[in-house]
């Protein structure tokens, strides 16, 4: 398989995810987009392993673990903030409205 195609797809997914993180006000969706970006990076790393690097796959494994940890903490923060502020909207989490 051609790694360039994988990289292209990874770039597209990353761009969509990055746009989403800024675009969305709902913290839940920001987290979802973050996961998407993480996966896009994973895809790029697998593309690297297509170019002959086993380490690409290894890093994906590590990223996976880190992402799992991040999701656990992220959802933890989300839950406690929603409890506190009664809303998942990140803009409302500021001390004062911009």
């Amino acid at each position: 398989m051609n790694p360039t195609l994988y990289l292209l797809l990874s770039l597209l997914l990353f761009g969509l995810g990055a746009a989403g993180v800024v675009l969305r006000r709902n913290t839940l969706f920001m987290l979802l987009n973050l996961e998407l970006m993480m996966n896009a990076v994973g895809l790029a790393l697998v593309a690297a392993s297509l170019a002959g690097l086993l380490e690409g796959q290894l890093i994906v494994l590590m990223v996976l673990a880190v992402a799992a940890a991040e999701v656990a903490i992220g959802i933890g923060i989300l839950v406690s903030m929603v409890r506190l502020k009664d809303s998942p909207l990140v803009d409302l989490w500021n001390r004062e409205e911009p």
């Binding site: 800024v22 990140v90 500021n94």
Partner: protein, 630 residues
């Protein structure tokens, strides 16, 4: 030798520390550690005086500054010159210490006074004992510090603290020159040690002419400051604000002679550059006459003595400038005794009159305080140069030397000064001790001082009579042969023209002294002609002398005024506008920048995320621009 020198040097330091740091338990007994310390120092100095040999003893205690090739040892250089200086300094110091017990009795700063005085003795001995110019400079500065502290001893008096500052600042000018001299020596010889420098000069005298001229001139500038010569003499009359024993010890007998000592110590350098010697002698002669004229009209008993000191120091510089180093040191030695005596006796008068200094309010004190009067008279006779008192031998030697070496003008000035000296001294005596009391109230409360003060007076009086006898016989005298090991070979300088000198010369100097006394007698005792009338006749000349040639005013206008304007310009222009402006401007700029950039840190999360995204764009863009990918 090492132990004796160390004992002499460090005993006063210990005394100063005892009184200054742990002195509280002594309080009214503060004189005990001080007097004992100086006594030990005096005995050790005498021991050295008896033991000093032909060769100078150079001892290094330890290396004080070892920086690359700049090595300064802490060590002693002991030869007969050192020994004489040590003997004079410690002996006069001891007597002044004893005298101070009576004079300073009951002063709230009694303990502080003795701590300073001991510290001064230590500093002066350090100056004398040092075996290199850097250490000499340490002593030089330390005596300056003690002088400052003691002039401003009664610091609650504005005039006293001002006088202290004046002494310090004027000395600073000279000390800057002294430092430059040391730098020049180090740059030329690579060392500041006496033995190294002297050896290099002696081995190749012509090689260093230029550097020697610069170095000796700079060193002399230091001496001008410390020894109160024209034009830096202005601090010494004001220094009379300090306690009188201090004036006797520091501002008459010892510290102010440091410049003479320094020139004598460096005689090997000064002998190589006679043209600088000429300048030294000229400055000395001018100062001698200049100060003597001011002493003639002053009414302040201590200031007259101060001008007299300046004048006598001028004599010493005439001597060392003309190559008569032994004669200069001889005059230093006799002058220490009789000028110390005069100051202490004046202090005794002040003690009796509760601090009155104006001679016009005195008169007829002889009957009420005979000890003081007699000793003062002896001191005045010695200073006027009447045989067989000490001043005659030393002063006459200098005058004769100036004549013999063909410096007729300097000789004439010196003789004229001798006349004025006798005149102003006996003007003082007739005004204070003879005639009718001019202030009944002061006269009524008059009393003789206690024995603790009069005994030192009599000892010094005896010294003022007898100290000169070691110099009888000029080149073949005890004094000359003793100092020959240190100074003798350079006594006769090649460029001098020898003239025969006879009894006539001696008769002349005695004659002018007697003439001066007679003049004073007729003016101030017989009032014929009346001095007040004479003063009115003299008009402008009298005012000029009375106002001390307006030197202080000139300095105030030109030096102090200029500095003040410069300081003001610097303060408003540089400090306020530039420095403060920069500092405040920095703060203001930061605050202004902050108020702009504060909007970025809104705490608005998605805004930060957007910036991260923009930043990432730029990062990759730069990567591309710099030929990225590889």
């Amino acid at each position: 030798m090492l132990w004796a020198a160390s004992l002499a040097l460090f005993a006063p330091l210990l005394g100063a520390i005892l009184n200054g740091v742990f002195g509280h338990p002594f309080r009214e007994k503060a004189h005990w550690p001080a007097v004992i310390a100086v006594g030990i120092s005096m005995l050790a100095s005498w021991w050295i005086l008896g033991r000093v040999g032909f060769e100078p003893v150079v001892l290094d205690l330890y290396t004080w500054i070892p920086v690359a090739n700049f090595v300064v040892p802490f060590g002693f250089y002991i030869d007969s010159l050192t020994a004489v200086m040590m003997g004079v300094v410690t002996t006069v110091s001891f007597l002044v210490h004893v005298y101070s017990i009576g004079y300073m009795h009951g002063d709230p700063g009694y303990r502080r006074y003795f701590a300073y005085l001991n510290l001064f003795v230590f500093s002066m001995l350090l100056l004398v004992l040092a075996n290199n110019y850097a250490l000499l400079f340490v002593g030089w500065e330390a005596v300056g510090l003690c002088s400052y502290l003691l002039i401003g001893f009664w610091y609650e008096k504005k005039s006293a603290s001002d006088a202290g500052k004046k002494a310090f600042i004027v000395n600073r000018i000279g000390d800057a020159g002294f430092l430059l001299g040391i730098f020049t020596l180090f740059a030329t010889f690579g060392s500041v040690r006496y033995d190294t420098v002297f050896q290099m000069v002696a081995s190749n005298p012509h090689l260093y002419q230029g550097a020697l001229v610069a170095a000796t001139l700079f060193l002399f500038l230091g001496a001008v400051g410390k020894s109160a010569q024209f034009p830096l003499y202005v601090w010494l009359p004001d220094a009379m604000e300090g306690p009188t024993p201090v004036s006797a010890l520091i501002h008459a007998a010892t510290m102010v002679t440091a410049g003479v000592y320094m020139v004598a110590r460096s005689h090997l350098l000064y002998s190589e550059v006679p043209q600088v010697g000429q300048l030294v002698a000229s400055v000395g002669a001018f100062t001698a006459l200049f100060a003597a004229t001011m002493a003639m009209v002053n009414d302040d008993i201590k200031r007259v003595l101060a001008y007299s000191t300046i004048s006598q120091l001028g004599y010493m510089f005439v001597a060392v400038g003309l190559g008569a180093y032994t004669a200069g040191i001889f005059h230093l030695y006799t002058h220490a005794f009789f000028k110390g005596l005069l100051f202490l006796a004046a202090g005794s008068v002040m003690h009796a009159t509760h601090g009155e200094l104006n001679m016009q309010k005195m008169g007829g004190f002889f009957r009420k305080m005979p000890h003081t009067a007699w000793t003062f008279l002896i001191g005045a006779l010695a200073l006027s140069g009447l045989p067989p008192l000490a001043g005659f031998f030393s002063k006459d030697e200098i005058i004769k030397h100036a004549y013999v070496t063909g410096h007729t003008f300097i000789w004439a000035v010196a003789v004229l000064t001798a006349l004025l000296t006798a005149f102003y001294m006996f003007r003082l005596i007739f005004l204070v001790f003879f005639g009718k009391p001019r202030d009944a109230e002061i006269y009524a409360h008059l009393h003789e001082s206690p024995p603790v003060m009069t005994v030192p007076l009599w000892i010094l009086a005896a010294a003022s009579v007898g100290a000169g006898w070691v110099g009888i016989g000029e080149e073949h005298s005890v004094f000359h042969r003793f100092l020959e090991t240190a100074l003798g070979e350079f006594h006769l300088v090649e460029w001098t023209v020898h003239r025969p000198a006879g009894v006539g010369l001696i008769a002349l100097s005695v004659g002018v002294a007697l003439l001066g006394i007679l003049l004073a007698y007729s003016l101030y005792l017989l009032r014929k002609p009346d001095p007040a009338l004479l003063a009115r006749r003299a008009g402008f000349l009298y005012t000029l002398l009375k106002r001390k040639y307006y030197v202080d005013e000139i300095y105030n206008l030109f030096v102090v005024g200029t500095l003040r304007v410069t300081a003001k310009v610097l303060f408003w222009g540089v400090d306020r506008a530039l420095v403060d402006g920069t500092v405040n401007g920095t703060g203001w700029t930061l605050a202004a920048t902050g108020s702009v950039f504060r909007r970025w840190s809104s705490g608005f999360l998605r805004s930060y995320l957007l910036w991260i995204l923009i930043g990432a764009n730029f990062l990759v863009w730069f990567l591309l621009r710099s030929g990225g990918g590889h």
